[in-house]
Amino acid sequence: MSPSPASSPVYNTPNYLNAEKGVRSWLTTLDHKRIGVIYLVLTLTGFFLGGVFALLLRLELLTPGPTIMDAMTYNRMFTLHGVIMIFLFMIPAIPGIFGNFFLPLMIGAQDVAFPRINLLSVYLYLLGAAIAVWGMIHGGTDTGWTFYTPYSTTTVTTVAPVLLGAFILGMGSIVTGLNFIVTIHTLRAPGVTWMRLPLFAWAMYATSVIQVLATPVLGMTLLLVAVERVFGFGIFDPARGGDPVLFQHLFWFYSHPAVYIMILPAMGIVSEVVQTFARKNMFGYKAVAFSSLGIAFVGFFVWGHHLFTSGQSTFASGVFGVLSMFVGLFTAIKVFNWTATMYQGAIQVSASFVYFLGFLYFLVFGGLTGIALSTVSLDVHWQDTYFVVAHFHFIMVGGTIMSFLAGLHYWWPKMFGRMYSERWALAASVLVILGFNATFIPQFLLGNMGMPRRYYSYPQQFQSLNVASTAGATLLAFGFGIILTYLIASLVKGRAAGPNPWRSRGYEWNTPSPPGVENFPGTPVYDHGPHEYHEPVAGEVTRAH
């Protein structure tokens, strides 16, 4: 896993990558940075798998009838795509990789509060992922990632293993969240006050709160489905006296906040990226920090907007609709503040910054379509159509993955001590952004036309837009291929990055690249906030005691 060629000048100094050698040292590591790298490998594997399934789905949808697979395979494949992308990539990726690696560096700590629990979360992830993927492939689960009852409690395919897998993954998510909350509360270095806390740390804090509070409900819900399937208790299936809509309430009580588990860390990353590449302090630091908490809080009271057509009372729908708009409001506040941060800045258009701009674009239009959906009446037409699919892919894929790529390019030199080809990175970023648009704009229009989601076959009139979407997905895959190639090349022969290639004044850059096993020599003390660029030369940033 360690890419270190011993002769390379980059790794002459001892660091977290070459301090210990061998697979065993990685499997038993308690170092938050190594755990971040392990998460990088694991979640990218998940992303690759989910991406391959996505491409196969798009290929199947090239023609109205059967193209390359039968209906059962298609149903299994979109279940695989959804479960893997959400539970194995979107939820754990940013907290697992960047949260683990950078949160302690950003607050001047030597590690997270509970390093052993941190390692445990890796093994929970591995165990949960193995059970879920094995269960889905072996048992052919065809419920979709939403497991709606009574379909999921009556389908002939196997469902229990994937529920168990998601349950275990949820436990990993909870302990990670708990770990980060305690870390931020107790391990901030002297001078890192709450109002100097890097915005990525604020976002991780808000995310962790959701993880700790919402995930147990998912665990209980999945357990109830499993109990109904295995023991025949009537909880959700009306044929046994259960209530199918109860499942939707319980499921979205977790799964709606879960989309903020996916997007809040992304918002944290772009806050760091825009400050570094515009060389500006955040315009409205408090507004950005507190709106993260606002989203985390309001996010718990909007789940019913998934149920506007389910027969839910009109009053409830109205309340959920208005509350949903407040999520959009908090997001708008962030967008305006990020934009204003560029005012009077000194902007360097790096690949990471292009992804920040892409993120803004996808968040603005993904967000506004979300507001449109929460007008309640428009949702009647769009519910369960490709419009909703396009909306959440704009936010989740366009938003979270843009930000993930922004963070990956921004922090890559710190993590591995080497630079990648900026030229290739810029080319790939343009390709990826174009590919996203080409894939998902046709899907908005398909939704307007009325094409329902999870359709294996479709009437003729939907074909041309489906072909356009598939073409876009191909472009996207090509872009990701380029990124993978130059990043691997960077590991092998990238030039040395030096401690701070972007001249960032974020706290995490006050370390060598890659950082040593001990993050800081002694305890750092800060007398200024992160990302203060008003003085020509940064003051003495750290003092070792």
Binding site: M72, N75, Y148, P150, Y151, T154, T155, P238, A239, G241, D243, P244, A278, R279, K280, N281, F283, G284, A287, T309, G311, S317, G318, V322, G328, L329, A332, F336, N337, A340, Q344, A346, I347, V349, V364, F365, I371, A372, T375, V376, S377, L378, V380, H381, Q383, T385, L445, N448, M449, G450, P452, R453, R454, S457, P459, R503, Y533, H534, E535, P536
Partner: protein
Amino acid sequence: MNLLNDFLRDLLFLPVQASDWARHLDFLHYFVFVASMLGGWATLATGLVFVLRYQRRRGEDEQSTPIVNPKPIHEAVFIGLPLVLFLTWFAIGYPQYVELQTPPKGAIDVYVQGKKWMWKFAYPGGPNSTDVLRVPAGRPVRMLLTSRDVIHSFFVPALRFKQDALPGRYTQAWFNANVPGRYPIFCAEYCGLGHSSMLGELVVMPAEEWDAWMEQQRRGSQPVAQDGRPIPAEEVDLRGSLIEQGQRIAGVQGCFKCHTVDGTQHIGPTWRDLFGRTVKLESGKTVVADEAYLTRSMMEPNAEVVAGYKPVMPTYQGKLSAPDAAAISEFIKSLRTDAPTAEPQKGPIYVPVTGK
């Protein structure tokens, strides 16, 4: 106005508007779309201007910048502008939704049953059909939806109409299609292998044609399929109207051992004038005895017991199919003496079956 409507509808790939409600919904759609585009691109364009204007000077990696922090007015604008816009949209959209969920009195009732993977329709006093639903143009139609197995969702893009069909209970919504034509019906809630082939067709007929067709169907003479083809005699449902079916099923199931139809109290509440009444429950709450309550009382009789009665009724879950329950509901409905919904149901549906 029409020109603009057609232009934006084509631009957004929206299907034809077969009802006024669909038209009104599209107007909100246009408003939201145009305002989103203007607001979104104004924000992004501002960002792009900043990117071009405030480029880092060449070779100055350590260029310093002034500290700029917002004044309260900035944040107030950042919060106020989107809030006003969003709430305006909601103020338009939410009443539309309430309207959709509130059927007018006198609407024609259609019972819809989803099952893997077909749609079944039944008219009170009229015929049953599969996958093809005929409705008269310009008259409100109330859909009472349920499912026999998993959740389905009845979706007519041309009406911008969607309502989930849930097993074990009824949901309702209504539409008033005023443009005659044939429109596709999709199932929007994933329901397994045949989800994407669970297709139906909504046929909106001029009202007089529909009246004539319904008359013909009800008489049972010259059975024709709903698309006009003659259908074989063994497929024609000869069991009579839903009301008659309901009476027969209630007899077979023994409902009359406890419930009377003449207003006298017995072990259970009488069915006379029950429908539409506000009933006081044992729990102290009140509930309107509509289709949903009646169905629930058959499936979960002890959930909402009427005040003054003992919870002794057995469940009919599994004994009554969804159409049976619908038929009994219709029968109970027909037992109203002052029925405001039963009486003005113009059109042939409520013409007494034996009247001709």
